[in-house]
Symmetry: C2
Subunit: 242 residues, 2 copies
């Protein structure tokens, strides 16, 4: 089973304080770019892989989606999602993305925000998602950027000439990365950008857009601490279709 | 016009000493991976964008290509290519990739090795290449990897804990990068991986494969100095089709 960090009480308490936990989609820096990749949601059947507190499920419903299935491995997150949702067209279900089974050709859109970099069996998951999408169906996902995930010590350093730089190493060495984020021992799965794209292509997806997210000038004015993203990307957004 | 560094006598003399200049394709670390992306060349009409000494043009002809057009901006390189070629089915022509005009639907394959990262007007070039390919035609290209190109000071440093790391910065800041390689003041055009892929998609290409080249264990045994590539990729290989 996926490491279920979100049901760790300390992690859950810490994560619940994040802007994206309190303010929802508007608290996520990359949301405007994710939103720009979405098709018109009117009438669509949608699955959200790693739905967390259900912010996207409710957004999709408010924008006319016909039915949304929100999946997450964390009981705590699903309980909070359910408590914030009063809509018979949104279904939350506990599911392990490592061994996910979905009905065939059932969805128009598969959405996933910052969840797939925890999945070891991405190959199996993408096969299941491709089968679950209708012909012409879409996939819109974000993951942590591999440049952000790769290093042995993923934190800024000063170069010998005094510049703040990102100490990249092990970019082509794929596999687990154990980091401390809120609590210690969080395990993520590092894959190169090429590997992720080739996996999608092999499972029958056509790549429609690849975005290494960065802030606009206006966003940096509003959030000066986001400027560092221009030195090394943090989020990777991919849109694909069947 | 593209900065024509290859006609600088000092640069040309230096470049001519490189393994890939002396040994041809077999002297290029990434060649086996590029070759694996090629279709069967039998009977194909091919354009080589930045053909240099013509090694690939001759390889393609030896493998049954019907006609190969080798384009380069460097008169010195074309002269040497011509001197090494005695084949009426290979044509070399001086051309500036910034303003390239090609006949429409004339080629089955467009090939380019480590040339497109010098091109400012990649948008115009890809439009011309897409028009020049037949329906179903292929594009196989290598460029310097954007992780390799991006940094203010693109050379290994020691981190405060003594590790050798690649000092990444300015990854999302696209535009010219001036470096010293053989001679000083070589100007390359840095684009993120996403930008290059999205440009291809916008011009009608389907992405077939994205490879951030790294050496195999056997290659590292034979060339121990190649191991550093696993810490930060140097070449980006892309296969696409119309």
């Amino acid at each position: 089973m996926t490491q279920n960090i979100y049901d760790d009480p300390d992690f859950f308490a810490g994560y619940s304080q994040f802007p994206r936990s309190i303010d929802g989609l508007e608290g996520a820096a990359e949301w405007p770019s994710m939103r720009a990749l979405l098709p018109d949601l009117q009438g669509l059947s949608i699955v959200d892989l790693g739905c967390g507190f259900g912010w996207f499920c409710r957004f999709a419903r408010e924008h006319g989606a016909a039915h949304i299935l929100g999946l997450d491995v964390s009981e705590r997150m699903l309980a909070k999602a359910q408590a914030m949702t009063a809509d018979a067209h949104i279904t939350y279900r506990r599911a392990d993305l490592e061994t996910l089974a979905l009905p065939e050709q059932a969805f128009d859109l598969a959405y996933s925000s910052l969840a797939l970099h925890y999945v070891v069996n991405l190959d199996g998951l993408l096969a299941a998602v491709h089968r679950a999408l209708k012909p012409g169906g879409r996939l819109v996902v974000s993951i942590e950027h591999p440049i952000y995930m790769a290093p042995s010590r993923p934190d800024w350093i000063a170069s010998p000439t005094g510049q703040r730089v990102w100490p990249l190493d092990r970019y082509l060495v794929e596999g687990p990365r154990t980091t401390d984020w809120i609590t210690s021992g969080i395990v993520k799965q590092h894959r190169t950008l090429g590997t992720t794209l080739n996996l999608l292509i092999r499972h029958g997806f056509s790549i429609a857009h690849v975005e290494e997210w960065g802030p606009t000038d206006a966003e940096i004015t509003a959030h000066p601490d986001w400027a560092e993203v221009r030195d090394r990307p943090m989020f990777l957004l991919i849109a694909a279709h069947c």
